[in-house]
Symmetry: C2
Subunit: 247 residues, 2 copies
Amino acid sequence: MRKIHVLTRKEDINREKLTDCTAVVIDALLATSTIAAVLHHGAKEVIPVLNEQEALLACETLTEESYVLCGEKGGHTLEGFQNPDPVELLKRDLSDKSIVLSTTNGTVAVQKCSAAKSVYTSSMLNGPAVASHIKKEQDTSSVLIVCAGSDNRFSLEDFLSAGYLISELIKENNLSWKLTDSAKAAFQLYESQSHRITEVFKDTETGCLLAELGFSKAVTYAGQSGIIPIVPRWTNNRLVNAKRVSC
Amino acid sequence: MRKIHVLTRKEDINREKLTDCTAVVIDALLATSTIAAVLHHGAKEVIPVLNEQEALLACETLTEESYVLCGEKGGHTLEGFQNPDPVELLKRDLSDKSIVLSTTNGTVAVQKCSAAKSVYTSSMLNGPAVASHIKKEQDTSSVLIVCAGSDNRFSLEDFLSAGYLISELIKENNLSWKLTDSAKAAFQLYESQSHRITEVFKDTETGCLLAELGFSKAVTYAGQSGIIPIVPRWTNNRLVNAKRVSC
């Protein structure tokens, strides 16, 4: 049986325990929703970085016009950056662009997971695609779902999105999976709230903060279930659609 | 509005942030269920300690026949100690006894919370009593529910019991409470599972371990909702029933 475990915060990641795991990072508001959205709308890759400085360094390796620089800290747009609001970003021409992305929690969590056997990102938008891809792998490694959380704290939207991913992973053959306590909690919580995800997202701590900052459309967007068939996979320090990798 | 927050593991306790909080520690399998049970069955007090050595030191201050020494580590009974299985303990005469209690998670969590403004312990057994007592306090401090967890990990039974406590706290006037994301998750999870608590308890990681070790009756016992009207409160390095304190 393949194990599924959930960490509720990026601060709980233990690099040494990661190496044999398939890690899936979730920061549903907004980093990993943005990643799914931009890859679906033509971006070539997302380069997730730890902070503003790393973002600027990453841009130095890219040719002008080939990238979009996005970043926020605590919900506020970094100066000279685009806000990583998917609703606004998708209005731009992202075709074959590299998206350099710096966020408070999500991109930091991806970097912290880089030692894992394989690293994906997921969200409400692309949970079924990620689950389907993982199920097709010839692999029995444990699936470690890492909720980015928010500055050291539990985030309800990440935990719910973890539950959605789990429900998609186990739905055809739940006997082939062993869920830890945190995975069971996320799954049971998702099952009880699946009919009102948008409402729950709007009522979360980050959802309320984003609404205050003028990004309520982004919260509604990120609460949509399974609308994007993209599997962002960590490859050569960037996230690309796994289907493109395997072609 | 009074805030309710939930920590999913004792390792997340930040002593400095505790001082203005009402802390409620939950280790439903088994420490805080045992504490409620023994106080209800006549014990004078419970002395929660960090480990075997501290337990033996605590006994030195007590007269022979006045105490019962209970302790486990990783589910296994400490040599020379009684196992803190409430079902077995309640067969003894506990009248006016001090229960010296050392457990892997619960008693350690209580000690780690000792800097809080006030400290209670709760479980499925006595959640309504603890909630009722907290609601009657002339106090607007944040309620911090500390799930002990299990050796650094999330425990489903503690999170569910936190949700039960929250449902009892908010049920008459939910507008007077502000729930953080983790509190909402625990509450929503409890609401969805309240009809099958015993089943969920048996299926948790600790529930399965205890069954393997021969304590399945204790798991069933601890899964009972609201059968004990005891409010264990931390006073002078020990837990006593708050109602007795206030008389």
